[in-house]
């Protein structure tokens, strides 16, 4: 009994650390699900928090979520957070295919819609961060790139993400909005590949996320560009319907949305929602 009591206190601590507004959001999503017996214990004062939380998250979240996972485990002894990082589409496909996951954090509302359309999510997904596009150039920006328009110069080798992946869709949106036509040398399969091409100096510039530029450190130089305002990407997070560990999952979502969680995410270059 003492053990379970202690656990409860810990949970309360975590919940307390979360921002009140976000707590309300989390409570809101749980109240949607009040018909299910499980969700009775979804209140922050839940006494039973243990076991494994399985989180499917977009690859760009890898660093910050890993940090948050460790914090969560520290704050809740007896719990374990396991991650499956990957392309949001692939993750969405495996969730709708029946993969046993508790939480899904996607890199775009579009990929999240795959899961919500199949009614595999509980409640409405909440946007927890936003990611803005940035131009990654060679260190020192030798080509003096300052805007998206500069990339249309034919002398530059530019790589974009393929339109089928979120960063490519966002770049296309920004280009269309600013009425620019850009022919890259390659449409890369994911944001990391696009960045690698610049890191290896095979391409002069790539349009990627701010967080990716941040993660690449000194190997590339980020250039913010005004047109990126037209293509800011929302990252939604949601509790999944068939979550094996809904209690702990909710607590993890709360942590992500808490001030503490947001601090970790901003440090990685994400924008607040």
């Amino acid at each position: 009994m003492t053990r379970s009591a202690r656990r409860t206190r810990r949970t309360l601590q975590v919940a307390g650390a979360g921002a009140a507004a976000l707590l309300a959001l989390s409570a809101c999503s749980s109240s949607d699900d009040s018909s299910s017996s499980k969700s009775d214990s979804s209140a922050s004062a839940s006494p039973k928090m243990s076991g494994t939380v399985t989180v499917f998250a977009a690859a760009s979240l890898q660093e910050s979520f890993t940090t948050l996972g460790k914090e969560f485990e520290k704050a809740n002894p007896g719990t374990k957070v396991t991650f499956n990082f990957g392309g949001s589409d692939t993750l969405a496909a495996s969730i709708t295919g029946g993969a046993p996951a508790d939480v899904f954090a996607a890199a775009s509302p579009k990929t999240m819609a795959i899961v919500t359309d199949k009614k595999d999510a509980v409640g409405t997904p909440a946007t927890f961060v936003r990611n803005q596009l940035e131009i990654a150039t060679l260190p020192g920006n030798p080509d003096k790139v300052t805007s998206l328009k500069d990339l249309t110069k034919s002398s530059l080798k530019v790589v974009l993400c393929d339109k089928t992946v979120p960063c490519g869709a966002a770049a296309q949106k920004a280009l269309t909005a600013s009425k620019l036509k850009l022919t890259p040398v390659s449409y890369e399969a994911d944001v990391k590949s696009a960045l690698t091409k610049v890191e290896l100096k095979e391409a002069d510039a790539a349009v990627v996320y701010k967080t990716d530029v941040h993660a690449a450190g000194s190997k590339v130089q980020g250039v913010e560009f005004p047109e990126s305002a037209n293509a800011i990407n929302d990252y939604p997070i949601v509790l999944l319907k068939n979550a094996p560990n809904a209690v702990a999952a909710k607590a993890f979502i709360a942590l992500v949305q808490s001030a503490e969680g947001q601090k970790v995410l901003s440090a990685a270059g994400f924008l607040k929602p």
């Binding site: 040398v185 390659s186 449409y187 290896l200 095979e202 391409a203």
Partner: protein, 285 residues
């Protein structure tokens, strides 16, 4: 009499005469400990392909396949796989000969190195190619500054990436055939006045032709399905570097049905080509 029969058949297949040889072994003759794993193995190999057929979006298939991107990708795939096979033949057959027929210190080690691309994850192979032949690569920077040649993001780059991954298959196959072939034929040719190269060209090459054909088919098949090294080294641009596997992978991101349709096309074309070649080339021996 029977002996005469078989030698006739063999002689005719060598000439490329009747293409089908009747299978003489009946199911009755296959022992159970071989038959069961054989059937399981067959099922294991075929099941994913059957699943692909079962789940294929047959109704929307025609519209999926009429897009120009698909045909571009298919054309590019066939062209670059064939070109990569040609490169592998031109460089790989002599390499196999050197490995099989000459003695020098470190040959065993070299042989292991040659097979390295087989175990290397293709993406790593692609990165390695970038580091070697990229615009800023160890050799690539000279190609760029001396000849103005850059390989990444070009169709040539696709061929290079595919050849890198496919050539070991050819080298291993040809080297094996060369080791099995009697080197004294080359000696006989030499005593008749042929230089080592002439002996190779006029005697060894025709003798190991079936092995070369088998190796070329393997290399071609591997090149056709190549994904990792290609997308890493050559990137992905429709009509220039986007081969079928790349198109399939990207389609999978948001339109699995299209991906299945594309896979079916790739599958159908490869089966047609491989079956055609098998009949023509690989019935010998």
């Amino acid at each position: 009499m029977t002996q005469l029969d078989t030698s006739d058949a063999a002689a005719e297949t060598l000439k490329g005469g009747p293409r089908r040889r009747r299978v003489r072994m009946t199911g009755r003759g296959v022992p159970l400990p071989l038959l069961v794993p054989a059937l399981v193995g067959l099922a294991f190999l075929l099941l994913p392909l059957i699943a692909l057929l079962v789940r294929a979006p047959w109704r929307s298939l025609p519209s999926q396949l009429t897009s120009t991107e698909v045909w571009q990708a298919l054309q590019l795939s066939l062209f670059s796989a064939t070109a990569a096979t040609a490169v592998s033949l031109v460089l790989g057959v002599p390499l196999a000969w050197v490995l099989a027929r000459t003695e020098f210190p470190g040959r065993g080690f070299l042989r292991a190195l040659v097979t390295l691309p087989l175990v290397l994850p293709p993406v790593v192979g692609g990165v390695a190619l970038l580091l070697a032949l990229g615009r800023n690569g160890v050799v690539g920077q000279w190609l760029d500054s001396w000849f103005g040649i850059t390989l990444p993001f070009t169709t040539t780059g696709v061929v290079v990436a595919e050849a890198f991954v496919a050539m070991p298959f050819l080298v291993i196959s040809v080297e094996g055939t060369l080791r099995a072939a009697d080197p004294r034929y080359e000696e006989a040719a030499q005593t008749l006045g042929a230089s080592r190269f002439t002996a190779f060209r006029r005697v060894t090459l025709p003798l190991i032709a079936p092995g070369i054909a088998a190796g070329a088919v393997l290399a071609w098949a591997r090149a056709l399905g190549e994904f990792g090294a290609t997308i890493t080294f050559a990137g992905n641009f429709p009509g220039r570097t986007q081969t079928m596997p790349l198109a399939v992978y990207l389609a999978l991101q948001n339109d699995p049905e299209a991906a299945i349709a594309l896979s079916l096309v790739l599958l159908a074309v490869s089966i047609a080509v491989l079956a055609g070649l098998r009949d023509r080339w690989m019935t010998t021996s």
